[in-house]
């Protein structure tokens, strides 16, 4: 590992970045490092971790708002929220286990810096939708803030949200302020078995059109479903299509009936109760159905109804197993390891059916040689480089992590 620095205060971080600016030293930016094996490898002389910037600086349960230092572990945030009956609505996924990193180590800063959202995104929005404000240090060693702590804020440009998903290439976040929501009283899951992809997506579309607030809609192809921990679902040898309902108990019961009635043409539905639901969706949050092994993992975002066609198009060229989240709009796709990661085929399929693809798991040498993130069209690339220059003119923050020279 390169020279590791652990600033304990904003001014200290600012001082370190200033030193690197002066010496033109590239910096690898990490929180707990659980996503280090994702993205293009960064060659940097210096690593700065936000891990020592920790602690919850503000929590107002009646205002549904929390501020935390960027290095605060997500687990600590969620424990504090749970103690007051609240949670992060966007259910951030943990990519650690699927990519050979540690489990449950990620920091809250990194969750927003990578805009990681889980199944509940379809109902409640993504990580970026819950971000209200940030503090950070850019590549000019300027300490700045954006947004604030109130729910509605259009004062100036939305810089906080603009930094979500920038993977530490524009600024090192030191504090994030975000919206939280109450835990629902109960959860239940309605499960259909053995549906082909096309029908499953059709079912999920029909479910999402019902006024029952489906807060999770996933489809696991049979080989993927076999990796579930739930003994009943695992042993069926069938694809699993699952819909989650969350609310107070009587509402969940009524909505479950309504949903089953609306979807009865798709066959008999099974049900997971509250406890089983927590386990099932918890597994998906850890992406444990896509365990770390010598295969490649792609993340594809597309129009839900095109998702089965997109997967079928890729399957014409290579074996592929899919886990569809977001009612089909997000595909986790496992394919055999190859030197070029099947990049040409995956990108061709996304070009035809719409959307974009990111290579999440691959050997370092592969990630160094292929385009890990979706290539940008020339105009968007020009704006992207412009933003990089605006925030980090010397190109010292996580250089090349997303795109070469960005």
């Amino acid at each position: 590992m390169s020279d590791l620095h652990r600033p304990g205060a904003d001014w200290e971080l600012q001082f370190m970045v200033a030193g690197c600016v002066e010496k033109e030293l590239p910096i690898e930016v990490v929180g707990a490092g659980s996503k280090r094996a994702i993205g293009r490898p960064v060659d940097a002389a210096v690593t700065i971790t936000t891990a020592s910037l920790r602690g919850i600086s503000l929590y107002e349960p009646t205002e549904l708002v929390m501020s935390a230092r960027a290095g605060t572990p997500l687990s600590a945030i969620e424990a504090e929220l749970a103690a007051r009956g609240q949670m992060l609505a966007f259910e951030p996924i943990d990519l650690g286990p699927a990519t050979g990193g540690p489990q449950s180590q990620q920091t809250i800063g990194a969750v927003f810096a990578t805009n990681l959202s889980g199944a509940r995104r379809i109902q409640y929005g993504a990580a970026r939708d819950h971000l209200l404000g940030i503090k950070g240090v850019n590549g000019r060693a300027e300490l700045f803030q954006a947004g604030g702590r109130v729910m509605k804020n259009v004062t100036g440009y939305d810089v906080s949200r603009g930094l979500a998903g920038s993977w530490g290439t524009l600024a090192i976040l030191t504090e994030v302020t975000f919206k939280v929501i109450p835990w629902p009283e109960t959860a239940a899951t309605v499960v259909f078995l053995g549906l082909p992809d096309q029908l499953a997506v059709e079912l999920m579309s029909a479910a999402m059109a019902q006024p029952v607030e489906v807060s999770g809609a996933v489809h696991l192809q049979a080989p993927v479903a076999e990796r579930l921990a739930h003994p009943g679902l695992r042993s069926m040898g069938k694809a699993v299509t699952a819909l989650r309902l969350e609310n107070f108990s009587s509402a969940v019961t009524a909505r479950k009936q309504r949903l089953k009635e609306a979807l009865k043409v798709y066959g008999k539905a099974l049900e997971l109760d509250h406890r089983e639901s927590l386990e099932f969706w918890g597994e998906l949050r850890r992406l444990s159905v896509m365990p770390n092994r010598q295969t490649l993992l792609w993340r594809v975002s597309t129009k839900p109804t095109n998702a089965p066609k997109l997967v079928a198009a890729i399957k014409r060229y290579m074996p592929a197993e899919a886990f569809y989240d977001w009612a089909g709009g997000l595909i986790w796709l496992e394919v055999p390891a190859t030197a070029d990661a099947g990049t040409a085929e995956v990108r061709r399929a996304t070009a035809i059916h719409g959307g974009h693809a990111t290579l999440i798991r691959a050997e370092r040498s592969v990630r160094a040689s292929v385009q890990v993130f979706q290539p940008l069209n020339p105009t968007v690339e020009r704006l992207t480089r412009g933003l990089k220059t605006a925030f980090d003119p010397a190109g010292i923050l996580n250089p090349g992590r997303m795109y070469a020279n960005v």
């Binding site: 205002e63 109130v150 729910m151 603009g162 999402m208 509402a251 009524a254 105009t379």
Partner: protein
Amino acid sequence: MSLSRLPDPDRGVLARSQTIINDLEQLIGAEAVISDEEGRRAFEADALTAYRRVPLAVVLPSSTEEVAKVLKYCHQNRIKVVPRGAGTSLCGGALPAEDAVVIGISRMNRVLEVDTANRTIAVETGITNLAITAAVEPDGFFYAPDPSSQLACTLGGNLAMNSGGAHCLKYGVTTNNVLGVRMVLVDGEIIEIGGPFLDAEGYDLLALIVGSEGQFGIITEATLRILPKAEGSRPILLGFASSEAAGQCVAAIIGSGIIPVAIEFMDKPAIAVAEAYAKAGYPLDVEALLIVEVEGSKEEMDRLASDIIEIAYTCQPTIVEPSTSDEHTERIWRGRKAAFGAMGRISDYYCMDGVIPLSRLPQVLTQIGQICARHQLRVANVFHAGDGNLHPLILYNANDADEAMRAEIAGAEILKLCVAVGGCLTGEHGVGIEKRDLMNEQFSPTDLTVQMRIKSVFDPNWLLNPGKVFPLEASPATSASEEAAA
């Protein structure tokens, strides 16, 4: 009034007016260019009528390609451009300049595609906010952001200002409901960002573009998220003997784990005016009213309403009136919806848009009263309580220059107060010309520089919607220095 200084027009551009108009007519046809004095005067202001400037010309393109032609021409000739939707901005966001060409998008108002299977709608941005919901309502869907001006305001303006509305407590504001845009950059280049999927690749350009107040480009088409409409909705009217008790009730409801679709607040002066006009049956002997709306099936609404009423009883309400019928629902909302219009009938008013942390509500309401009293002005409060977005209406007589000036000064003091208690200058109206010079209250010079550098990425010569958002003395300097550095 007019406290904010407007930039001096570029005399060189003014001298070329006729040439510019001729060129624009050549580009997109004379029928799409308004150049006569009277026609241009119709565009001299938006809903912040204290500021007026007659633009050099107004163009009303019918396609993205025409917008691109005009922008390319203006860019090549260094002519400023002011984008305009329906002109309902309350902060002067669509205020023209004498040396600027106004590009109005109102003719581009088509629905391009309704896709209920993927829960999206693609539209041109000149469409009104309400027309979007109208297009998907037959299929049981709606478009969530619902600014008060939704009958008139365009999606283009909503995107520029990141508009909210009464129901964003549950469903989020514009930025949370936009999936993709087709936009013309200042140099006339057309780009597409995002699409009918839930995230876009690369940096979150959509996040930066939405809410950029027309300073990054002109969005001509957008793909939006639509949601299935709830089975029903029902308001509960709650009256309190003090604003403090009403504020406590809001906090107690949210703290209990219930997020209603909307929580609206009105104080005594607002109630009196609304009731006189709308005959909604509001009690006149309360200091504050809340309208708390729940939605869902009948059983769900029964349960939520009874929970909310139980919580409300811990805050000593003087009135508890759940809606019992559709007619009753209409009546409860009638007063609230008519409040701004009713106020306009009795007086000119200046509508503020600050946001505060909810816990500071009683203190801030008291101080707002004190500020207005000090300036010998009356104030009424009507606002979205659930998210702390205040709308104090400062009443004044526009024909009395001194009173108008005092109203603007009082407004600035109220906004400074919002920032001081941890809030912000504007929750849904935008900065525009109105709050431009208060930006230093909320942001450090570095914070503002960070924002202005982003502006320079999209619009290096600062031609788009000039003289807004940033304090005047700050912006051109930064632009020039960035150019020099590039």
